[in-house]
């Protein structure tokens, strides 16, 4: 197996261009690549479209932020495709003020749209959202008397994901509930950058226990301060 390139968080941020569709792993920042986000914030990349479960925490009273929230505050996204923004008052403010386009998507639908994007499908049929605002503008197909929404596949330019361990060939093992959207996003983007806590020699991981095969991964970033 050929080794993947191991790069710095700053070099990784350099691979993200203004206007890119960026898929970001994590669920309320658990499983988000925090060093990659910090580098992307510093670089100030603009007009990106964010595809992520949520926009992490931004506390209106204390100003405390986690995960992607500082980039939201910096207005680095022109559009956000997310399932939940209840923990980030700034995302809600930008949405209500019409400053940033926010697409709210049911969580299971978003997961399947990304999976479809990565696995060569045009989209999926789901009963979720039938008869709700989510149905607006979408095709409804009836199969055996049950209604389904046609939800198109989503692909991205860059995936920024987080795993616990990579071997040098890019095979990944995730970490507890920090797995969430990460393995799905690894399949659906042109460039896949993974931030990891440790890098081991190729062959050191049990092939039966690998969550994401290295073929999906382009670059590895070792978490700052990791042993």
């Amino acid at each position: 197996m050929i080794d993947k390139k191991i790069i710095s968080a700053e070099e990784a941020a350099g691979l993200v261009n203004d206007g890119d569709v960026v898929m970001l792993g994590g669920f309320l920042a658990c499983g988000s690549p925090l060093n990659l986000l910090e580098a992307l914030q510093k670089k100030g990349t603009k007009d990106m479209t964010l595809v992520c479960n949520d926009t992490a925490f931004h506390n209106a009273k204390t100003g405390e932020m986690t995960g992607v929230a500082p980039l939201v505050l910096n207005k680095q996204f022109k559009k956000m495709v997310v399932t939940h923004i209840g923990t980030n008052f700034e995302t809600q403010r930008q949405m209500n003020a019409g400053e940033t386009e926010v697409d709210l998507v049911p969580q299971g639908t978003l997961a399947e749209q990304i999976r479809a994007g990565g696995f060569g499908l045009g989209g999926i049929l789901t009963p979720t959202g039938v008869g709700t605002e989510v149905e607006k503008g979408k095709e409804v197909i009836e199969i055996d008397g049950k209604k389904f929404l046609v939800e198109k596949a989503i692909k991205g330019d860059v995936a920024l994901i987080k795993a616990r361990t990579a071997d040098k060939a890019g095979n990944l093992i995730f970490d507890k509930s920090a797995r969430n959207f990460n393995p799905l996003m690894a399949t659906a983007c042109e460039t896949v950058i993974v931030e990891v806590d440790e890098i081991v020699e190729t062959g050191a991981l049990d092939p039966e226990c690998i969550n994401t095969p290295g073929l999906f991964v382009n670059y590895i970033v070792l978490t700052k301060g990791a042993k």
């Binding site: 669920f27 309320l28 920042a29 658990c30 499983g31 479960n53 949520d54 925490f57 997310v82 399932t83 939940h84 923004i85 209840g86 923990t87 809600q92 949405m95 209500n96 709210l104 049911p106 969580q107 299971g108 639908t109 978003l110 997961a111 399947e112 990304i114 999976r115 789901t126 009963p127 979720t128 959202g129 039938v130 008869g131 709700t132 605002e133 989510v134 616990r164 995730f174 970490d175 507890k176 509930s177 920090a178 797995r179 969430n180 959207f181 990460n182 393995p183 799905l184 969550n211």
Partner: protein
Amino acid sequence: MEYKPNKEVIVKRIAKFFKDGDLVNLGIGLPTLVGNYIPDDVHINLQSENGFVGLGPAPEKGKEDSMLTNAGGSPVTLLAGGAYFDSAVSFGIIRGGHVDYTVLGVLQVDQNGNLANYMIPGKMIPGMGGAMDLTIGAKKVIAATTHFERNGDSKLKRNCTLPLTAGNQVDYVVTDLGFFEIKDGKFILKEYFAPYSVDYILNNTDVDIVVPEDCKEVTL
């Protein structure tokens, strides 16, 4: 009689629904509290939609693991026999009908089983997160809510006016006044909770309520 909101009554009653082996997903907020009242002799399996089954209690102070949280972002533990998976598997479990019960919070719930719990346009837009999939996918949907809003309006409606999370999916509604089943476009009052009376519920809730003969008073 004066109404005093009592969330404990709601979660205590819901905790009695389950039997050994049930796979249950508890929503964020009030529904999460149900987990504290499951009887000791009933063993259910809790799913956390961010990617695991075998959800355990909060860890001791100092033993939190930032890589293991519930769907609200709070540190939790994993019980022996638990398993982690990605979000596609997690929602496959949910949409695929493998979850026996989901307990969800309420902005409005109506007599046709419609649930609104994810946004108040122009005011509060938290988003649906996993709620639309859970409402559609779980075998039984329990709506958990205080009976009245702060302004005194009942949260039980003839027709929801807020954007729906899902249509015709709610099976049971448990408030701090009673336990209702939704059937044939009506609320069926199965139990009323002391100190409130059937008349109190009927007089203060502008929906179609059927009171069957076996409706009983319950003290929780």
